[in-house]
């Protein structure tokens, strides 16, 4: 490939499309959605080579692009992709396309701005996955917030402003601490090597005394934990999901939540491995609590969207647990669950959106007997539900099983408690399904419901294909993610060992190369240590 800046094109094409859509005439509803769809489709097709050209076999970053950005600070425009970010980027372009087609008829007011923002959001998400410079990462991370904030705040439900502000502030609160930690890393890097840089790969080489890793790790972890969201930082999620328009919910669940776990994998874990060692048990238990808690609270929700939102808390708990297991099964399971959750929960939000669009209610009690009225919808709902409860043969099982296996190898008790989530997920999903789809038609309004249109079937068809493909033959996915995951695992372990040794033998030459610990920093670190 003749040095085509492919990743940049992938990032900025949706942005350009967003701008084009934004300057179209406001009332040209049909052309707007057509152009948005075509743009998303083109972007998806354009991103497909991520599947067959880039990923298999190679562990490191590929298709790197490097430009100076702010030379004084050493900040660079640095993009690259590996198996992990490649798959997540594919998930992003796929989800955006699905979400846009799904939103064709549901967005009536300000459709121009709506589709423009979705496309802009896509640019932000892809940038976040591709960037290898921490300052750039921070910029994309924050930039992503704005379109989502507006999507919830403008096109949302009744309490949309509350939900949007809550979403914004929660995320800001976390990312601010992360910014401080990023700046400190930059400072330490400058002290260590004399070269100011925000380059991630340079930070991967930076030795950090275990004692000072802790607060930086916690700062990163806090930001990511909010995004995941991990118990007890999850309360923005139900509100955001319930108020967000369907497309917003789909993207939020399928991609934005993955930013948190991706952040752990890419930044927090390999950069601060010794701190990770200290914190991993606590984080794992929070994840396990999240699995059980999310499932329990999901069970009693009267609102379908809220139920799915809490089920996300539960599923994302599996993702974090897999990471904390620190072994290849846990990592692979975690990554598979990220993809599965994107597919299944995205599909669930779309399904809720379909009947919300027709009935303008999401209350479980307002439905019942849908199988009689809209059988195609009901069958698809059934398949998606089974994927969400992790039935073997669907995608959900592979991820959950690998996470549990990884957790089991680390600690039997992790697996024992987390596996109760397998029971509970069946409880809340089957109960909801029974009340919505089975039984006699209890509300006259539901008799007039129309089954899925051609466009809607088109949206669900690829999701169903993925559910079975990833369940029956997941190896192509695993082959693509594993080299990159192994590299993270290796790097995390190596760095932990290296820095622990350096710390233990304070007189060794390596340790002397470490920057002297500023008292003001190391003291809070020791106080904050959860030991």
């Amino acid at each position: 490939m003749a040095q085509l800046p492919w990743l940049s094109l992938l990032v900025f094409f949706p942005l350009a499309a967003a701008i084009l859509v934004a300057i179209m005439p406001a009332n040209a509803h049909k052309p707007i959605r057509w152009w948005a769809t075509i743009a998303a489709l083109a972007e998806f097709v354009f991103s497909l080579p991520l599947w067959w050209r880039v990923i298999p076999g190679q562990a490191g970053f590929q298709f790197e692009e490097k430009l100076d950005w702010i030379p004084v600070l050493g900040a660079q425009y640095h993009l690259g992709v590996d198996g992990v970010s490649g798959l997540l980027a594919l998930l992003t372009t796929f989800t955006t396309l699905i979400a846009i087609i799904g939103a064709w008829t549901s967005v009536e007011k300000r459709s121009r701005e709506f589709f423009a923002l979705v496309l802009a959001l896509e640019a932000g998400m892809l940038g976040t996955f591709f960037c290898l410079d921490l300052l750039l990462f921070y910029v994309f991370w924050e930039a992503m917030l704005i379109p989502m904030y507006l999507l919830i705040g403008v096109w949302g439900g009744q309490r949309r402003v509350y939900a949007a502000v809550k979403f914004f502030l929660y995320t800001m609160a976390g990312s601010v601490l992360m910014l401080v930690a990023i700046l400190s890393l930059w400072f330490l890097q400058k002290q260590y090597s004399g070269i100011p840089t925000f380059d991630l790969q340079a930070f991967y080489q930076l030795p950090l005394a275990p004692s000072r890793q802790l607060w930086m790790f916690l700062a990163f972890a806090f930001a990511f934990a909010i995004k995941v969201p991990m118990f007890p930082l999850h309360t923005w999620l139900p509100d955001a999901h319930v108020e967000a328009p369907t497309a917003g919910s789909v993207i939020l669940a399928a991609v934005l939540l993955k930013m948190g776990t991706y952040g752990f994998l890419r930044f927090a874990m390999p950069l601060f491995p010794n701190a990770l060692e200290v914190c991993a048990p606590y984080i794992a238990w929070l994840a396990i609590i999240g699995i059980v808690y999310g499932a329990l609270v999901a069970m009693v929700q009267p609102d379908m969207k809220k139920l799915v939102a809490y089920s996300s808390v539960s599923h994302m708990g599996f993702v974090v647990l897999g990471l904390m297991a620190m072994n290849s099964q846990g990592f692979a399971g975690s990554m598979m669950t990220m993809l599965n959750h994107g597919v299944s929960t995205g599909a669930l939000f779309l399904l809720v959106g379909v009947i919300y669009e027709r009935r303008h209610t999401r209350k479980i009690a307002d439905f019942g007997g849908l199988w009689t009225v809209i059988p195609v919808y009901s069958v698809i709902f059934l398949v998606v539900m089974l994927s969400s409860v992790g039935l073997p043969g669907t995608n959900g099982f592979i991820g959950e099983f690998l996470v549990l296996l990884g957790a089991f190898k680390h600690s039997v008790w992790w697996a024992v408690v987390a596996a109760t989530g397998v029971i509970l997920s069946a409880c809340y999903m089957l109960w909801m399904f029974q009340r919505v789809v089975f039984g006699p038609v209890t509300h006259e309004e539901n008799r007039k419901l129309t089954d899925l249109s051609f466009r809607e079937r088109l949206v669900f068809a690829p999701l169903l294909v993925l559910i079975f493909w990833m369940g029956v033959a997941p190896q192509p996915f695993l082959d693509r993610m594993q080299p990159a995951l192994d590299r993270v695992l290796q790097m995390t372990n190596d760095r932990a060992q290296m820095m622990a040794q350096a710390d233990a033998t304070a007189t060794a030459p390596l340790a002397s190369r470490l920057p002297a610990a500023p008292a003001a920093v190391s003291v809070p670190a020791e106080q904050g240590g959860a030991r």
């Binding site: 502000v165 029971i423 039984g439």
Partner: protein, 673 residues
């Protein structure tokens, strides 16, 4: 080389599912029926062919493994989609496809007028696919695919008439209770993976003796967890509660899934893993006790139920208990033998009951039946054969397997278990003949012309006085809202229902003969020799003297005869006995009739508390504590910003400013130090 093509056996019903989904609406009922039955029939043919190939080999080589593809591989752990045919799975695959085929044919008659005919066969074929995957899998994880797959089909088929609340409740209950078992199964398998690094049967069993200490805690915990899975699937204490409710499904489903095949999956899994279980004597003891307790408990409940399908359901739970205590005393072969004979006679009983229900226009309450012997001759004759078979009268099938189980329990010195088995046997004979008598003998207790039942007038209405149907059992009829024409005289079912009944009746007579061993012939029975490559030569017990063997047989026949005699006495000749009995033991009767209130107990200790706690978690913890804190911080900042409102007007902007200032302050602080 003659390829047996194992993969095609589960693939055929799956292909039928796909075809039915794509073209079902163009096929019509006949086409659908032909497709569904044809696929299973063909699967049976392929199974026979494969088993013949297997039988043609020498004993040491009786194992065929076929790998289709690598399911997934992560790190050093990998799982294949691959199939295994050995003498053990051969029996299962023949029973599943054979009995399955008969039940498919029967269903074309039973479900003929149901508007969801096509959906029914779709689910049924899907079930066959899952069940065949389960029995043919060569590793625990692929087995788990079938394991949960049959659970799914069970869920869908129990709730087949989805407009009925009780049906969908029962389906959901079945799935969730099974999930509790699956939780155990999965964790048990993880122990195996963690220690042996594999889920492949051959590799696990080969390495287990080197990696686990026999009788050690690891293997004990692992096998106990796996047994928890078996108690879910095979309806044993404490997870049996879903099976009686599963009778909400159409009767052919009860026959196929909840009697002949799926519920025996737990037994199959335990027998398949006998190498592991034999290393854990504590687990075996637990299995023996749980099996015996379940056999007894379910039999007692079966004594007083009035719904014909519920009696059969509790009977199934009870018979499964026998299979488990066979495993528990180390007689794995006897357990599988009973799986097979039970599949014949219990499928027949359910199909016969279905024929009765069909003929009675969806009446399931035995108090409203009676005298059907002359009206439904084929059903009556076949049902009688099955009833004799389950009661344990030689030379019918059930006798041989039950006797072998009891003899093994006795020979291994499990006298308590043996006594429980005998007690269960007398009750089985009693409640089965009670069912037979109430249904086929005596006077008709329904309106001949209209098929409507008399009010509880007849004296044989043993429990009329106590007809407090707290759970609406009497209302839990097999009524599927189709216009079957409630009315018309009671008559025999069509050929597509009676032919399967007849075939199963033949099997219920001769099906047990393959297991005839000592003291009638020298050495092992044919069945024992067939299973030997898988199970070894069985537990090393001192062989019983021929006289003891005959004594035990005589004892079990005698008590069966006693049970039968009592049933005839109490329900045909002198109905006053039954009335007097349950008046005298009103408390006991109430406990039995209400199934010991186990469902209520589970509701009180688990279901309701979890629901209440979840509600509180949401309303209090989530909304008050966590969100309260977050909002509190928000209000605090709002308060502070009220001071600054002189300078700033925006809300989010204000916070953003604070954030920026905060960052700057922290950063400066850091730089300065």
């Amino acid at each position: 080389m003659n390829l047996p093509m194992l993969w095609i056996i589960p693939a055929l019903p799956l292909a039928a599912v796909a075809l039915n989904m794509l073209f079902g609406d163009r096929l019509g009922k006949k086409g659908t029926a032909f497709l569904a039955c044809g696929a299973v029939g063909l699967a049976f043919a392929f199974a026979v062919r494969a088993v013949l190939t297997l039988a043609g080999r020498s004993e040491e080589e009786r194992q065929i493994v076929e790998t289709a593809w690598t399911w997934f591989r992560v790190g050093d752990f990998s799982v294949d989609v691959s199939f295994l045919l050995d003498p053990l799975s051969a029996i299962m695959v023949l029973v599943v496809t054979g009995v399955g085929f008969l039940i498919h044919v029967y269903s074309t008659g039973y479900m003929a007028e149901d508007p969801s005919f096509r959906r029914f066969f779709l689910y049924l074929n899907l079930f066959m696919f899952a069940m065949l995957t389960l029995v043919l899998a060569d590793n625990y994880l692929l087995m788990f695919v079938g394991w949960e797959g049959v659970g799914l089909c069970s869920y869908l088929l129990i709730g087949f008439w989805y407009e009925k609340q009780s049906a969908t409740d029962a389906g959901k209950k079945a799935f969730i209770v099974n999930r509790i078992g699956d939780f155990g199964f999965l964790l048990g398998v993880m122990f195996l993976i963690a220690w042996t690094g594999s889920v492949n049967f051959e590799r696990v069993f080969a390495s287990a003796p080197h990696l686990f200490t026999a009788g050690g805690s690891i293997i004990t915990i692992a096998t106990l967890l796996m047994f928890l899975g078996a108690t879910g699937k095979s309806a044993q204490i404490p997870l049996y509660v879903w099976l009686p409710d599963a009778m909400e499904g159409p009767t052919p489903v009860s026959a196929l899934i909840h009697a002949a095949t799926m519920v025996t999956a737990g037994v199959y899994m335990v027998v398949r893993s006998h190498v592991l279980f034999e290393m854990a004597p504590v687990t075996l003891e637990v299995i023996a006790i749980v099996g015996a307790a379940t056999a007894l408990m379910a039999a007692t409940i079966g004594l007083v139920q009035n719904d014909i399908k519920r009696v059969l359901a509790y009977s199934t739970v009870s018979q499964l208990g026998y299979m488990f205590f066979a495993c528990g005393v180390g007689a794995f072969g006897a357990g599988i033998f009973h799986v097979m004979t039970h599949a014949f006679f219990k499928a027949l009983l359910f199909l016969g009951a279905g024929s009765v229900i069909y003929g009675m226009h969806h009446e399931q309450d035995m108090r409203k039946m009676g005298g059907l012997a002359t009206k439904m001759p084929v059903t009556h004759a076949t049902m009688l054969i099955a009833t004799i078979a389950i009661a344990g009268i030689p030379p019918f099938a059930g006798f041989w397997s039950k006797d072998e189980i009891l003899a093994k329990a006795f020979a291994t010195g499990h006298y308590g278990i043996f006594a429980a088995g005998l007690l269960g046997a007398v009750m089985t004979a009693f409640y089965m003949f009670r069912l037979y008598v109430l249904t086929f003998q005596g006077k008709a207790r329904f309106d001949e012309s209209g098929g409507h039942a008399h009010a509880h007038a007849h004296a044989a209405d043993a429990h009329g006085a106590h007809a407090h149907d707290a759970h609406g059992h009497a209302a839990a009829h097999d009524d599927h809202g189709h216009d079957h024409g409630h009315g018309g005289p009671v008559k025999e079912s069509p050929w597509n229902m009676t032919v399967p009944l007849s075939v199963l009746a033949v099997l219920s007579v001769i099906g047990g003969w393959v297991g005839i061993g000592k003291p009638f012939i020298e050495g092992e029975s044919w069945m024992g020799r067939w299973l030997e490559p898988v199970l070894g030569s069985g537990p090393h017990v001192h062989h019983l003297a021929v006289s003891t063997e005959f004594g035990l047989m005589g004892l079990s026949v005698a008590i069966a005869a006693f049970g039968i005699f009592m049933a005839f006495r109490a329900y045909l000749q002198q109905p006053s006995i039954a009335t007097a009995m349950h008046e005298r033991f009103g408390g006991v009767h109430r406990a039995l009739y209400n199934k010991y209130w186990v469902d209520e107990f589970y509701d009180a200790i688990a279901v309701n508390p979890i629901y209440q706690a979840s509600m509180r978690l949401w309303r209090f913890w989530d909304e008050k504590v966590v969100d309260g804190t977050v909002n509190g911080v928000g209000y605090f900042l709002e308060g502070v910003s009220a001071l600054l409102r002189l300078f700033q007007t925006g809300y989010v902007g204000t916070y953003a400013l604070f954030i920026a200032l905060g960052v700057l302050a922290l950063f400066l602080h850091f730089l300065r130090s």
